[in-house]
């Protein structure tokens, strides 16, 4: 019988992944209803670029753009833990994605500082946005601590994560920082999906 912790962590990840995937499809389906396919692509580009911030504070705009690109690249890096065989482009982009990961704490700090110190008159989503920044910071710091301090064997991590994809719960790697990192990831995915996909959609009248 598998360790209780391994099963509990797996259930947490499955739950978070389901909430996130459902929220994403929900949001895209409602956007498509309102905007049509071409406009979705345009909106995604605008979101990536934060066009309304660009007009008011170019430095903050640049930092936010870099932050989002870094998050996406870092996410791309972790696909290797869920796939086998690992696609060549993931292996080839190793240096770039590692750099993005290392830049993340700096970018988060820069964004936090800019938003705290500068009065740009930009209406962002305020405390919720800050909450996500804090969650993301905790996630990144736990990940970096795990990477540099745990001395973890990647084989064990990969065996556990690949097992999750194939519904086989393998032994949980014996690294507390790994468990913490996964718990934080699950919380981030769930909170992001609920706030950004469901609540903001309802506020805008999309799903109501």
């Amino acid at each position: 019988m598998q360790d209780f912790n391994a099963i509990a962590l797996a259930m947490l990840i499955y739950g978070a992944a389901l909430v996130f995937a459902t929220g994403f499809i929900w949001r895209v389906s409602h956007m498509q209803e309102k905007l049509g396919k071409l406009k979705i692509a345009l909106k995604a580009l605008l979101w990536l670029g934060d066009s309304h911030i660009f007009k008011k504070d170019k430095l903050l705009w640049a930092v936010r753009l870099l932050l989002r690109i870094s998050v996406m690249l870092a996410g791309l890096r972790y696909l290797r833990y869920l796939l086998y065989p690992v696609p060549q482009f993931l292996i080839a982009s190793d240096d770039v994605t590692l750099l993005a990961l290392q830049l993340l704490p700096l970018l988060l700090l820069a964004e936090f500082s800019l938003r705290s110190l500068r009065d740009s008159g930009i209406a962002l989503s305020g405390s919720l946005d800050m909450f996500f920044n804090l969650l993301l910071t905790a996630l990144v710091v736990s990940g970096l601590c795990f990477h540099y301090l745990s001395g973890a064997e990647l084989l064990e991590i990969k065996a556990y994560t690949l097992g999750l994809v194939f519904l086989r719960i393998e032994d949980l790697p014996a690294y507390p920082l790994f468990s913490l990192h996964v718990v934080l990831l699950s919380i981030t995915l769930t909170a992001f999906a609920i706030v950004k996909f469901y609540i903001s959609d309802r506020r805008k009248g999309g799903a109501a």
């Binding site: 292996i91 001395g151 084989l155 690949l162 194939f166």
Partner: protein, 125 residues
């Protein structure tokens, strides 16, 4: 997309994943360290003892990258003893790390064969 369309997309994705997971296709067990034709706690299948700097081997598996990055060791020197497909690439391919490819033109490279011990390796290695 209507609510019905949304449900169909979601259910299709979930079914596809469950089908993939249940079929177990491409599921790869992690490389293990005992038995025949698997990675052993030895330099190559032909070597019995683990060199002192490789011990404990569990630690070496984690730290070897740092040794290479810091220049304390070179890939060329590793390949004097190690055959990459036996000692390196099974794990590298599994976790998605850059595989090790020997430069076949290097003088004295003999894959899978212990040509010389590290201590008597040529200076340029």
């Amino acid at each position: 997309m209507t609510a019905r369309g949304f449900n169909i997309v979601l259910l299709s994705l979930l079914s596809l994943w469950l089908l993939l997971a249940a079929s177990g296709c491409d599921y790869e067990e992690k490389p293990v360290y005992e038995g025949d034709w698997v990675i052993k706690d030895a330099c190559t299948p032909y070597m019995i003892d683990v060199p002192p700097f490789h011990t404990p081997i569990s630690e070496w598996r984690v730290t070897h990258k740092r040794f290479l990055e810091d220049g304390l060791y070179t890939e060329k020197r590793c390949l004097i003893c190690h055959e990459p497909d036996v000692a390196c690439n099974r794990c590298h391919n599994y976790v998605g790390v850059k595989p090790v490819y020997p430069e076949l033109q290097d003088p004295g490279y003999s894959p899978g064969f212990i040509r010389v011990w590290h201590s008597v390796a040529p200076e340029e290695y």
